[in-house]
Amino acid sequence: MSARPAFIVDVNKCTGCHACAMACGIANDLPATQPWREVRTFNELHVPGVELMHLSLACNHCADAPCMEQCPALAYHRDEQTGAVLINSDACLGCRYCAWACPYGAPRFDESRGVMTKCNFCVDKQHEGGQPACVTSCPTGALTWGELPDEELVQDVPGFAQAGVGPSIRFEPLLPARRVPETTHPPAMPPWRRLRDKIVPHITLKHEWTLAVFTLLAAALVGVFTAWRLGSVGLDWRVFLGLGAAGMALSASHLGHVERSWRAALHLDESWLSREIVLIGGFLALAAGALYFGGWPTWAGWVAVALGFLTLAAIDRVYRVATIRGSGPLNSAHVLGTGLLLAAVWHWSLPVAGGVALVKLVLYATRRRSRTRLGCDVSHPAMGWLRAGTLLAGMGAMFGDIRWPALILILVGEMIDRGEFYAELEIPTPNSLLLDELEARPEAHAVPKGE
């Protein structure tokens, strides 16, 4: 693709005046305080020796747009003429997953309409030969418009994620001569860490508890069904289906448009969220069928078990757009592990359960330790001991052959871990990247000399 238009941002010329953002809101008739474009400021409290800089960002209409790739409902499409990535509000579920997938914080949830909304590249203006309103309104000429060079890499600028998704933006980074003025007074450290308080995270346990419950429930259903298939427990199809339906309903409850839930199955070829939805539907249906028609061939049950574990793997894959600092690729709270553990517990296989539990404990302890070292939030130590203690006690109960207490103890431990997982998930945003950048600057840690 050549001659794609692109935003060109000269960081040297931007004064952070917000005219681009305001013009965006006006031109697109957005509520006064919700323009698609946002200007972020780096070092607004003036850490000495560190530059003050602004980053004006909207949607970068990426060549490999993660929002479009990950949207389960096929609500995104590309305008062929301009390369603009556009969202169709009539097709959007309001699941917010595109906001998790986008490294630039472009898609936002519109509370009043229950759908996602984002910069449309002013396509109407472009089709008439014009340029986006943000560009034509920049008083200093810092935000301009040009042809995207074919190969050139995006320059490194604080706050801009190098995500390799082909964004339609190029920067003129700060020239060395314009970085920081020499000053005449002894430096002092501003409370820049407090700026973290203002960052609104994409994922919090408080908002995402329905998903936490849903994913744990999915693991439990897969575990118990596997044990049933192995012939170690009895299972009433009504209980199974009832819990499955409740989980699905819970997961749909956070959608902006529940009535469009069916659309979530439309994007199987790319979106892990779509795959998860279809897989869990298949698992629940096939498993319930197997339970109801006791005479179904055995392989049908095994197919359901396979679908179940694939569902759990898909769930874990969906969360890979987020990161947990201090965690490796495997996390003790991954539902695939939980499903395995619960299957082993219900099947009453101490060697398998013990093996999985040991792996979980090691993962849990190492993650906790490295997060503490990195200065990241971890839950209260008592919670950590409770999580480890319940798992160990569960294993002890299995050893002692006390069935129900074992299950309950293990479930409680898994719930704690899953809860912490949601609290620890982070999606880097331009705002958090700006603070990470400041954090990485030695000047931000120097002890200021007194006068």
Binding site: M22, G25, V180
Partner: protein, 662 residues
């Protein structure tokens, strides 16, 4: 700017490339007119105060009848000068002159002298260079050295930054002198943060170094500078070390400034307005201009003193700052006796007759003039108050009758500028909102009720049908017509891109006056720009321990004085007032970022959230001006009604405060 109107609504504001000063884009305030024009908070019909203090809608007839009654009665009982006319710098245009013309026909009134904004700098420039004009905005791109002295152009003159960038791209050097680390200083190679109000000492120290090292332009001085020897002797009275002590800046910084100014040509000094809002600021500004003079940085491309460009003040009458002075020979009709800076106390001090009735238009003195307590008291002591306003400002809230004011899109007028030199047409493109009447119509309606009529009235206050003819008549002496202005911005007749190339300085000596007998005669100040400390300063020998912090009330990019701050479009970026403090000052008071704190002195108190910023000078606090009472940021509760040393400006920044955790 160019605006789009769809179905009677303003939908877009865009730049006009024909104005070479602002070709890229409007500022934030310009864009926000789409909300301001149609704001649900706009006052669209006359309002009358009720007994319980609230306001109720009344008809124009009822409002005007009542106002006319009061005017007649006040005139009969106390004389016309018991009527107080107050106007500030809201909507601009030639028609603003109609108000005073009306009061003359009425028989007279009392009004103010001085100005809140910029008189000390204007007068310093007039005394030194003879005239307030500077090179065209785009000429700054030719400078090899730019000194922003007390100016944060990125917030207050954003379009200037484009030319700064062009100059920097071409290799220019940039120095910023400001007690705050600002967006503008971010571009600079050196930020000097002197004690507020000591800039004159800094300038004289630089002058001393330039003279000592011989890096002055002797030929230019010999030909065009008056009083250089006396100036040089005066600059030599204080050592650089002593000056560095007063300003609290390192000697090395002063030396670097002098080295650059002495060696890099052409150099432009861009001075801000905030710096001339101290009781010593006329002298400060004169000392700064002297640096341009002794280095020969006048009358050349890329060189000069950029403060205010009044090349569009071409419509007769006195130019600023002369227009701010009380007349030497009062005409007995309009009594010019109230200092804008001391508004409250001077209003109360009027006798024979005392003030009884106030008419306020285009201004918000209850937020913007110093010493809000005194201003409020003075307004409340009057018998009757009329305020012409678009919004429910602090001043409107004090009114007996509020008359709705037009917006700038509702009546055709001609506007000048004070940075670039274009005359521009501001055509009426929208119908008057609601029941709004322009001031001209209001005055004509009042004239009818007061039996003022005839050609005198038509000359003074044109009727709506005669408006364009009237404007054309104002343009005629300039060989311009409205039709010319309809084509686009027109450079004011006689304006120049590079000023003073002819080395003609309209001062008494015909030269640049570093020694000004006029300054001494008119203002009683030293004829030389000798530095002294402001009246209320923490830099003095005997600072008051009760109020150790110097408070600055700078302007922000988000408002023009007290306008625009009520709009959602603006408030998303500036939701409320806060006090900015240095980390050490905050720590010494046990205050943390985000805490609420009381900012107070003997005159008043504000309670504000604290922003801790390592970019501000120790010992200084800053609250942007222009907040309304309902927003909790009436900064002038803390300032004193004091005039600047010259030209009757307002010394807002002679303000010391203390801060404590609330």
């Amino acid at each position: 700017m160019r605006v789009t109107v769809e179905d009677g609504r303003l939908t877009a504001v865009e730049p006009v490339a024909a104005n070479e000063a602002t070709p890229e884009g409007p500022c934030l305030k310009g864009l926000s007119y789409v909300e301001r024009q149609h704001s649900p908070d706009r006052i669209l019909h006359p309002l009358r105060r009720r007994a319980d203090g609230s306001f109720g809608r009344v008809s124009w007839d009822s409002a005007l009848d009542e106002i006319a009654d009061h005017l007649r009665r006040t005139r009969d009982e106390h004389g016309p000068q018991a009527i107080f006319h107050y106007a500030a710098s809201g909507t601009k245009g030639l028609l603003n002159g109609c108000s005073l013309a009306f009061w003359r026909l009425f028989g007279g009134c009392t009004t103010t002298f001085g100005d809140l904004c910029w008189p000390a700098g204007l007068e310093a420039t007039r005394l030194t260079l003879g005239e307030n004009k500077h090179n065209a905005p785009w000429d700054l791109a030719n400078a090899h050295l730019i000194i922003f002295w007390g100016k944060n152009a990125a917030e207050t003159n954003i379009h200037q930054m484009r030319f700064v960038d062009q100059a920097l791209d071409a290799g220019a050097r940039l120095i910023v002198i400001d007690p705050r680390r600002t967006q503008t200083s971010e571009r600079a190679e050196l930020l000097i943060q002197p004690r507020p109000g000591t800039d004159g000492y800094l300038a004289l120290a630089v002058a001393r170094l330039l003279i000592e090292k011989g890096s002055i332009d002797r030929e230019f001085i010999a030909g065009h500078v008056h009083g250089f020897e006396e100036f040089a002797a005066m600059a030599g009275e204080r050592t650089v070390e002593e000056a560095a002590g007063v300003c609290d800046v390192p000697v090395a910084a002063i030396e670097k400034l002098a080295d650059l100014l002495g060696s890099v040509k052409p150099a432009t000094i861009c001075a801000g307005f905030g710096m001339q809002r101290y009781t010593n600021s006329g002298q400060t500004m004169r000392a700064l201009i002297a640096l341009c003079a002794v280095t020969g940085n006048i009358g050349r491309p890329g060189a000069g003193w950029v403060y205010a460009n009044l090349q569009t003040q071409v419509f007769g009458g006195a130019r600023d700052p002369i227009a701010f002075f009380p007349p030497d020979n009062p005409d007995g009709v309009v009594r010019v006796s109230v200092s804008t800076a001391r508004l409250g106390r001077d209003m109360q001090a009027q006798t024979d007759p005392p003030l009884k009735f106030a008419w306020v238009e285009r201004g918000n003195p209850l937020a913007q003039n110093p010493e809000t307590h005194a201003v409020r008291k003075a307004f409340r002591e009057l018998d009757f108050r009329v305020v012409v306003e678009q919004f429910m400002t602090d001043t409107a809230r004090e009114a007996d009758i509020i008359l709705p004011a037009k917006s700038m899109f509702e009546q055709t007028d001609v506007i000048g500028a004070y940075w670039h030199h274009y005359l521009q047409l501001r055509p009426a493109i929208l119908d008057m909102a609601g029941e709004v009447k322009p001031e001209t119509e209001i005055f004509r309606e009042l004239a009818r009720r007061l039996d003022i009529a005839g050609p005198g009235l038509d000359d003074a206050v044109p009727g709506s049908r005669d408006l364009e003819t009237w404007l054309d008549r104002q343009l005629k002496p300039l060989d311009l017509t409205l039709a010319d202005l309809k084509e686009g911005p027109v450079p004011a007749p006689g304006s120049e891109n590079v000023v003073f190339t002819d080395r003609v300085f309209p001062t008494p000596s015909g030269k640049i006056e570093l020694l000004s007998a006029e300054a001494a005669m008119h203002w009683g100040i030293d004829p030389l720009p000798r530095a002294h400390l402001p009246g209320e300063t923490a830099a003095g020998a005997d600072p008051d321990p009760a109020t150790p912090l110097q408070m600055m009330t700078p302007n922000t990019k988000n408002r023009i004085h007290s306008q625009f701050g009520n709009l959602d479009l603006i408030r998303q970026y500036d939701p409320g007032p806060e006090v900015t403090m240095h980390p050490d000052d905050a720590a010494a008071r046990g205050i943390e970022h985000g805490d609420r704190a009381k900012v107070f002195n003997q005159r008043g108190e504000l309670e504000l959230p604290v922003r801790i910023d390592a970019g501000i000078r120790r010992g200084c606090v800053s609250v942007t001006n222009g907040w309304w009472g309902e927003q909790g940021g009436l900064v002038n509760l803390l300032s004193a009604g004091r005039e600047t040393d010259v030209a009757h400006g307002a010394a807002f920044h002679d303000t010391l405060v203390e801060v404590k955790k609330a």
